[in-house]
């Protein structure tokens, strides 16, 4: 060796095009090769859990919806179910079905954003635009139901805020019929591309053992070959009434994580179709006292399958209209922790692919 080389540190973020928000990844590099990766989080910390202690149970719903802003209905749904469990509220049948429809639409939106952002992180800008075009139709549907596009705050304790409007049904039906065509397009433009395959196949392999040891959940876990979905493993709401598959991939690499999500879009569409068929007429909001005061000392942990993984809410009541403690088990945060393990020994460009396929939402992981 004539030239001595030494590892150097490269800071990806906190201001960087591909960190999906304010995240700082400190990469120790040897040339183009990654020696180690350290994640620094907290740039989007808004002390959501502390805010909950000074808000009533109802007032916190919009905050919950802002945890995972890519699939706004899912975290809000998880929160209202946790409160309902805490204070024993009942939810009318129709509201249950509406929640499933809106929740699964949000899941599709989140997964479409995943596919698009993976594409743009690999510099295929057109892929992002195609996904955004289709996601736009979901955003329109959210606007029809709640008047808000991105952060709809549609969930309420004991139900939902508005009934589904008439124009919603043709919109969702035409969307569902178009889903296979959309997936075909993604397969042609994004997954079918040889460069993308070369950059995703065998990159960032997450073994099932590591995944379990780190508590990885959601599509990332299912991409590592473990069929674990709370909608099936611990059904909440009315998920036991629907017939759907849980997509599982074996390899645990970036490609597997992409394929699992693409298949989940299909399965979510199936669930929505069934929910629309079975949806009864009736109330959309159960009987809820004006001021909710769960008795002192009651606690509850409720977990739901959000688009990112197992989203859990721990609530402790102190007899007032505000919770004594709220804790969020954020799947984005826990999933992100495997980034150093799957990135070591790969190339600089693979860190970007790995971040994109772990699909973190920094609003949720930093809280």
């Amino acid at each position: 060796m004539f030239v001595e080389s030494e590892p150097y540190i490269i800071n990806i973020g906190p201001q960087h095009p591909s960190t999906h928000g304010g995240m700082h990844v400190e990469a120790l590099m040897d040339g183009e090769e990654v020696v180690n990766v350290t994640i620094h989080l907290g740039y989007v910390h808004r002390s959501v859990e502390k805010i909950a202690e000074s808000r009533t149970y109802t007032q916190f719903i919009p905050y919950a919806a802002r945890l995972d802003y890519m699939s706004t209905n899912l975290p809000a749904w998880g929160y209202v179910e946790a409160v309902e469990k805490l204070s024993g509220l009942t939810v009318p049948e129709r509201a249950q079905y509406i929640r499933v429809v809106m929740g699964e639409l949000s899941r599709i939106a989140s997964h479409m954003m995943f596919v698009g952002s993976l594409a743009i992180d690999l510099a295929a800008t057109t892929g992002l635009l195609y996904c955004l075009r289709d996601r736009e139709r979901i955003m329109d549907m959210l606007e029809m139901t709640s008047g808000q596009r991105l952060l709809s705050s549609y969930m309420r304790l004991g139900g939902v805020s508005h009934d589904l409007p008439e124009e919603f049904f043709p919109a969702v039906k035409s969307f569902l019929t178009d889903v296979p065509a959309m997936l075909d397009e993604y397969n042609g433009l994004i997954t079918g591309n040889e460069i993308l395959q070369a950059r995703c196949n065998g990159i960032g392999v997450l073994t099932p053992e590591t995944a379990l040891a780190y508590g990885v959940t959601g599509p990332n876990l299912r991409a590592s070959g473990i069929s674990y979905d709370l909608r099936r493993a611990d059904p909440y709401g009315i998920y036991d009434r629907f017939d759907f598959n849980i997509p599982v991939a074996q390899k645990g690499d970036c490609m597997a994580r992409l394929m699992v999500r693409l298949e989940e879009i299909e399965q979510s569409a199936r669930i929505i179709k069934q929910a629309l068929e079975q949806m009864p007429e009736g109330e959309i909001l159960g009987k809820v006292p004006k001021v909710l005061k769960p008795e002192k000392g009651r606690e509850v942990y409720h977990r739901t399958e959000s688009a990112k993984g197992e989203l859990g809410y721990y609530l402790l009541a102190d007899g007032t209209d505000k919770p004594a403690r709220l804790h969020v088990r954020a799947p984005s945060f826990i999933n992100l922790m495997v980034l150093p393990i799957i990135s070591r020994g790969s190339k600089l460009q693979d860190i970007i692919t790995n971040i994109a396929t772990l699909d973190p939402v920094l609003g949720e992981s930093d809280r």
């Binding site: 960087h16 591909s18 992180d121 510099a123 635009l129 433009l189 591309n193 460069i195 070369a198 190339k347």
Partner: protein, 345 residues
């Protein structure tokens, strides 16, 4: 129409001679005029090209593209240029200032020099070099030095990584680029670009040398640092690569130079494989413009469709695929030429 520009030049030189200038001075003035014209055309052309690229990417991505300023947003790039000209020129304190400042100029000068040898029409070539192709390749590879200068002097890790990638990429792709052109040279029997165009009067070399064209096209994309080979810039990984620390007009010069390069490389492709300025009905200079723009459209189409290739894949594509393929192409061409000669072709 056919000899529009040649007639303009001839009128000018006649007029200068009438003024009593010697032949030496007339030629010198003409050279200055020619270069000014080239630089003006290049700048205007880039303005059109940026607009075109944004429109085309809009079309590919199912959106409108620029549409506010003027019909179809065609004044958008002019407004952007004015904005870039008026922006503050920031030079970070820890940079190597001399190199930092000269890098964009060096880049644009090198890019403009490429135009010297390209025949832009019948009898329309600034310098009719007998080793024109060799000149083009050797000057073209100088652009990597400009990127290395920018990356090194910026004193920024992203810039340095981008510059290093650029050097590695250019060195690897220079070889298949040159080799792929050898087939054309063997058939035409000359390195002079005008002679190569003349040799295509019966049949375009794209028919005789399809493999060479594909290798040239891929290698040229890498040489141009355009997607899917835009390693030195690599927005998603290196923020802006070698250009990270540049602002305002200095950055715009890099931009300008890259588009200038794009036109030059496309014009060379048109010259070598698509019969250059030859074509029916329309004047010759219009034909080369049409052909160049069509090739550039393919470059843009590629950029807006493909993801970026990974650095090590890029290297193995060059050394394991393109170099052997272009070598085999040379062999096949040589054998083919001998066979045809033996048949008395």
């Amino acid at each position: 129409m056919e000899n529009l520009f040649i007639n303009i030049a001839r009128t000018l030189s006649d007029w200068l001679l009438q003024l009593g200038l010697s032949h030496f001075w007339t030629d010198l003035v003409l050279l200055v005029v020619q270069w000014t014209a080239i630089i003006l055309i290049i700048t205007l052309n880039v303005i059109i090209l940026v607009w075109l690229e944004r429109k085309i990417s809009g079309f590919i991505q199912q959106r409108l593209g620029p549409n506010r300023l003027g019909p179809f947003g065609c004044f958008q790039t002019i407004a952007d240029t004015l904005k870039l000209l008026t922006k503050e020129d920031i030079i970070p304190s820890q940079t190597d200032k001399l190199i930092f400042k000269t890098a964009p100029m060096f880049f644009i000068i090198v890019s403009v020099l490429l135009y010297a040898v390209i025949p832009m029409g019948k009898d329309m070539v600034v310098v009719d070099l007998n080793v024109g192709l060799f000149y083009f390749i050797s000057v073209g590879s100088l652009t990597t030095i400009a990127i290395l200068m920018a990356g090194w002097s910026s004193n920024n890790k992203w810039s340095l990584l981008g510059a290093m990638r650029s050097v590695a990429q250019m060195i690897s792709y220079e070889i298949p680029l040159a080799f792929s052109l050898l087939g054309v040279v063997m058939i035409a029997g000359s390195l002079n670009l005008s002679a190569i165009v003349a040799a295509q009067s019966n049949i375009w070399f794209i028919v005789l040398q399809p493999v060479a064209f594909v290798t040239y096209f891929i290698a040229a994309t890498a040489e141009l640092n355009r997607g899917p080979f835009d390693m030195p810039e690599a927005e998603q990984e290196l923020t802006a690569g070698a250009y990270t620390e540049y602002t305002g007009m200095r950055w715009a010069l890099f931009f300008l130079a890259e588009y200038t390069n794009l036109v030059a490389v496309s014009a060379l492709a048109a010259t070598l494989f698509f019969g250059g300025w030859q074509g029916p009905l329309l004047p010759s200079w219009m034909w080369i413009i049409i052909k160049t723009y069509l090739i550039m459209l393919v470059f843009m189409w590629m950029k807006w469709t493909f993801p970026r290739i990974r650095m090590d894949h890029l290297m193995s594509l060059s050394w394991k695929v393109l170099v052997p393929v272009s070598l085999i192409n040379i062999l096949v061409t040589g054998v083919g030429i001998e066979i045809f000669k033996g048949m008395g072709w």
